[in-house]
């Protein structure tokens, strides 16, 4: 898989940094979306805003609703993406999922998945993990 290489950051300005991280995140979400589509998931929403926060991806596999949290890191210098999924974050994900279910009036099984992506410095894929029902 080849992806577009984003310009390397040239300034340590906070604003630029934030923008850069958003771009990395966006890139990760696109990778995850492609992967899920290939696996036969139907993507219902991307970056769905609930009253708490955003859900990265909402998909459907057969008759199960899947909420996907995508974590992307470039290199492992600042911890692995799995490390950043702690109990607190998990609780937030559950809240968000409930928000979507209420909004969509969904009556059926649902689960939360995590997709952890590690990129190489040149923004090509290094590692891709899909954890089901975390």
């Amino acid at each position: 898989m080849e992806f577009r290489i984003w310009p390397r950051r040239c300034s340590t300005d906070r604003k630029d940094m934030k923008k850069f991280n958003l771009q990395i995140g966006k890139l990760g979400e696109e990778i995850a979306k492609d992967y899920l589509k290939k696996r036969g998931y139907e993507i219902l929403a991307q970056n769905f805003k609930t009253k708490y926060a955003e859900i990265d991806l909402v998909a459907r596999q057969k008759n199960e609703l899947v909420f996907v949290e995508v974590r992307t890191k470039r290199g492992l210098d600042f911890g692995s993406p799995e490390d950043s999924l702690n109990k607190k974050k998990l609780r937030k994900l559950w809240f968000n999922a409930r928000g979507y279910i209420n909004w969509a009036k969904w009556r059926g099984p649902y689960r939360i998945d995590a997709v952890c992506i590690v990129l190489k410095p040149n923004n090509t894929l290094d590692r891709f993990n899909h954890y089901k029902n975390i």
Binding site: S80, E82, A114, Y131
Partner: protein
């Protein structure tokens, strides 16, 4: 993949076996969780284990690791589970398996080495009772555990060494208990009895106290040498015998007061808590009951300097342990019994200014002040102290004379020889009993071992009437007389022994 590693948890002086179950799952979000009523220190061991494994140049698995400490309803505390958890994880990574029937315990350092952990002796004792063959623990704590015979104690320096041992590349040789040298004993004593000038009476009382394990109260003006006498006391006490040593070391092991590399405690402990100590500090306690000063002074000396300055609540708490020789600490979560058979040595001033009954200086306290000061120690407590002695002030002119004569004074080692002899006689006498010294005698023991001749009994009865002795002090007089007779190498209590014992009767200072 599930691995079970054996370890143990301490609750007071008891030890309960704990199975450390480590599961490294192939599926699921990577993480590291510990369950089984773990406290903060156990929970934090995750970070220690993870970093220690990484520091040993082994890659930490990116898998879902669950650790269960069974039985799940016993609270686990402390850092002892670092090693068993690390061993569990390592044995799933590498093919070398931990040997069966072995117990693991110890705290890990971030660099993969093992740190001194408290409770080594208790763990080794448990391991032996529960039928384990070997025990792996930090190198610094190995000396302590090696005391227990019949079980292999492996001192582990770091994780990589342990892995090499498992793989049989480089074996660790079991630790062997080395007895401390005898000559070290005299070096540990702060003061010698010959350094204390004058005070022959007080020294004699100290000797009796040491021989029979009696409690003692010294009353005297400031600067007369009360504290010095007390500090010289450990020097005339006999060393602990094997059984006593083990009892004392058990308490200190659970309290964590044994230094790294330390082993069996062979000299009697001398504890001198400050008078601002709380009741819990002295007796022991806390939500998870810890031993207090009285238990740390087990089979040794508890020295309470400035006896009157201790809060009343603290002193009254001493009453029961003084009588029973143990203390039961009950809290909502736990109940523990700690032995506390100690010699109480107390020193006090006779009045707030300190110069009551001083031959030269004038006491400036009002009678009311003196009464109030002396009332701070209750009658029942004084009644429990066998030997009451006055430490009079020393004349300065006499002091300079004595300075020259100090070479002729008895050194502690000579006194100790007499004390040891007297204790030997007592050990012989109480061979079939559960007690060690005269002070521990109960009424039935007194009846059995302290037969008084008619004349001696007469003296005692007269004294009892005249000094209004309580039933308890009446019996205490007999015990003290027994010790004096033992020091005198006499099988029977003579008139002179009883007469001397009566000098040390409980008295309030006004009588003096």
């Amino acid at each position: 993949m599930l691995i079970k590693v054996a370890s143990a948890a301490s609750r007071g002086l008891e030890t309960i076996g704990v199975d450390v179950e480590v599961n490294v799952a192939g599926r699921g979000l990577p993480g590291f969780n510990i369950v089984g009523l773990a406290d903060k220190a156990v929970d934090e061991s995750r970070e220690r284990v993870k970093t220690a494994i990484l520091s040993s140049k082994i890659e930490f698995p990116q898998k879902k690791i669950t650790v269960n400490l069974a039985p799940a309803d016993v609270p686990k505390e402390g850092s002892v589970y670092d090693l068993p958890i690390a061993v569990g994880i390592l044995s799933t990574l590498t093919n070398c398996k931990a040997p069966e029937k072995s117990l693991f315990f110890g705290e890990l350092s971030l660099d993969g080495s093992l740190r001194h952990t408290k409770g080594a002796l208790l763990m080794a004792l448990f391991a032996k009772e529960a039928g384990f063959e070997s025990i792996f623990l930090p190198k610094d704590s190995a000396n302590e555990a090696a005391v227990i015979k019949g079980i292999k104690v492996y001192p582990v320096e770091n994780l990589s060494q342990l892995l090499n041992h498992f793989a049989e590349k480089e074996c660790i040789s079991p630790a062997v208990y080395k007895k401390a040298k005898e000559e070290a004993f005299d070096n540990l004593i702060e003061f010698d009895m010959k350094d204390v000038l004058g005070q022959e009476q007080a020294k004699r009382t100290m000797e009796i106290a040491a021989a029979g394990g009696h409690n003692i109260l010294m009353v005297g003006s400031p600067g007369t040498g009360k504290t010095m006498l007390a500090r010289a006391l450990p020097g005339i006490l006999p060393p602990l015998n094997e059984k006593e040593s083990l009892e004392v070391t058990k308490i200190h092991s659970s309290a964590g007061t044994i230094p790294p590399g330390g082993s069996l405690i062979t000299i009697r402990q001398f504890r001198s808590p400050h008078h601002t100590t709380s009741p819990v500090g002295l007796i022991g306690g806390g939500t998870k009951p810890h031993p207090g000063e009285i238990s740390l002074a087990h089979r040794g000396v508890l020295f309470l300097d400035e006896f009157n300055e201790f809060p009343r609540s603290v002193l009254e708490a001493l009453r029961q342990p003084l009588e029973d020789g143990y203390v039961t600490i009950s809290r909502s979560k736990e109940r523990t019994m700690y032995p506390a058979r100690f010699m109480l040595v107390a020193s006090a001033n006779p009045c707030p200014c300190g110069y009551l009954n001083h031959p030269k200086k004038v006491c400036v306290c009002s009678p009311r002040q003196i009464k109030k000061y002396q009332k701070r120690i209750s009658g029942p407590l004084l009644d429990r102290i066998d030997l009451h002695v006055d430490v009079p002030s020393v004349d300065v002119a006499e002091l300079s004379n004595n300075q020259k004569a100090s070479e002729f004074l008895e050194p502690s080692s000579t006194i100790r020889k007499r004390v040891v002899l007297a204790r030997k006689k007592q050990a012989e006498r109480f061979k079939t009993e559960a007690i060690h010294v005269n002070a521990e005698m109960k009424n039935n023991h007194i009846k059995k071992y302290c037969k008084l001749s008619k004349k001696v009994e007469q003296i005692l009865q007269q004294a009892g009437v005249k000094f209004q002795l309580s039933a308890r002090s009446y019996l205490k007089m007999i015990k003290v007389a027994r010790t004096i007779a033992d020091l005198d190498n006499s099988p029977e209590i003579g008139i002179s022994h009883m007469a001397e014992a009566l000098q040390y009767r409980p008295k309030r200072y006004e009588e003096v």
